[in-house]
Symmetry: C2
Subunit: 252 residues, 2 copies
DNA sequence: TAAATGACTTGATCCTGATCAATATCATCT
DNA sequence: AGATGATATTGATCAGGATCAAGTCATTTA
């Protein structure tokens, strides 16, 4: 019990200026003094465990959240008890932006593994951004980027084949892991096949079959949640729609 | 030639404070003095004709635009020459928000009919919003609303049947026309069947067949672009997924 | 260590909506 | 008014991926 203090959450608090994620996060592009000011409003609480909710649809909105470690799934519960997965979020990513519009959450966010976050009380952020044009600018950029990302997702769901969807999904993680200093070709996915399928508008079975097919084609090696991408160029070809593994399939 | 002046575009300029759309638009929630200040940066140019581009993907971004009359389609040209329609925009709606992130347009916007817009130079808007907290707040809200709307579209494309998609589409227009003081049940769609299908992730033929089926079921009356919604409650049922016209189809 | 539970995989079949093909209708433009 | 090309409708067929149904594997619980 005495060693509790050593790992107490107070001790793991980190300031933005010392945070490795600051180049991906709100402080991006801010002067050191501005980062200090931003830091004063940020709250760092205890980690969430797998399955814990950061917030739920209909909760009153008070803070944006930045993932600092772990990963988070956002989703909207839909009428008939099911859910639509809206995104998977990695360290450095800001969530809750959709709640600004009417001051309450429209979707839910749940930790997929042990996850730490910074909370950014929005009313304070708003006041601060009035005083700090660079912060205001960064907020506009982040909101706009979110819109752009959702737009890409619309294109994916509107037009792309199952194969293109999964390849896009895998490469998105590849790139995001790489940005964060991890291997772009060897990583663990923290979500289930079911969640992947839901996110991509595919049935679980289709996702499972695609993993198998991609593996048979030598594009990747998969062992449950552990994925190793073996042929990134080919995966990029698939995303573009300029390549398909089907031809090879039928040749065999 | 002499009567040119009478209808010259100079004469149709309108200030925000006199504009019927101000409750839907940027000035929403601003004090009269703030609206005046906002008005000073807004440019009102000559109308676009059907097929004219307001901007194209890759254009440098300088202004947000508010539709004041007519309608606009936004789309991303994709690799293989095709396009993905991202949205249809009616008077009062703000477009170009996705371009803030990196100062250039990622999608194109084209007039579907004779269309007038207000241009809002973004750098000026940004400066002004630093000075006017209520304007900043409104910007955050509008950006967040856009995110929320795209989220709804993700759910539509990820899970809904063709029938649910078209019903959702029609009711979206119904509500938006109603907000603008037009009939919610009798309107003209300015886009082609092809564009509707593209937007909803459906083939043209499917859209055409659905219109026919909806008409046969007495849900609506359609004559090319002229649509009359005859049974709004039933259409809402279809959107919820709690109703389907298929049962009736097979009964006949 | 066994049983139970949940996640994943694999196979067989079905169905929605895509694609292909043939008109039909509309909007321009001389 | 008639010719032309775009747009829309309708029909027939096809296929991608969903659904249904077992079965396998992994992890937790007892």
């Amino acid at each position: 019990m005495t060693n509790r203090k050593v790992v107490s959450f107070e001790n793991i608090k980190v300031a933005c200026k010392n945070c490795s994620l600051s180049t991906l996060c709100l402080p991006m592009g801010l002067s050191p003094e501005d980062v200090e000011r931003l830091d004063t409003i940020i709250k760092r609480g205890r980690p969430y465990h797998r399955g814990d909710h950061l917030y739920r649809g209909n909760d009153k909105f008070h803070s944006l959240r930045v993932i600092t470690s772990g990963s988070v799934k956002t989703y909207t519960p839909n009428e008939d008890g099911g859910e639509q997965v809206l995104g998977f979020h990695l360290p450095g990513e800001l969530i809750g932006l959709d709640a600004i519009q009417d001051n309450h959450h429209n979707c839910s966010a749940v930790a997929l593994e042990t996850t730490a976050v910074c909370e950014v009380p929005f009313s304070q952020l708003e006041s601060l951004s009035s005083l700090m044009p660079s912060l205001q600018h960064q907020m506009y950029r982040l909101l706009s980027r979110e819109i752009g990302q959702e737009t890409e997702m619309l294109t994916l769901l509107g037009k792309k084949s199952a194969e293109e969807r999964l390849a896009t999904f895998l490469l998105s993680f590849s790139e995001r892991f790489k940005q964060r200093g991890f291997s772009p070709s060897d990583f663990f996915l923290s979500m289930s096949r079911h969640e992947i399928g839901n996110y991509l508008g595919l049935a679980v079975e289709t996702v499972s079959r695609l993993f198998t097919r991609f593996q048979d084609e030598g594009l990747l090696q998969v062992e449950r949640k552990h994925v190793q991408l073996l042929d990134l160029p080919r995966l990029y070809d698939i995303v573009q729609g300029t390549d398909s593994i089907k031809s090879n399939q039928s040749r065999v």
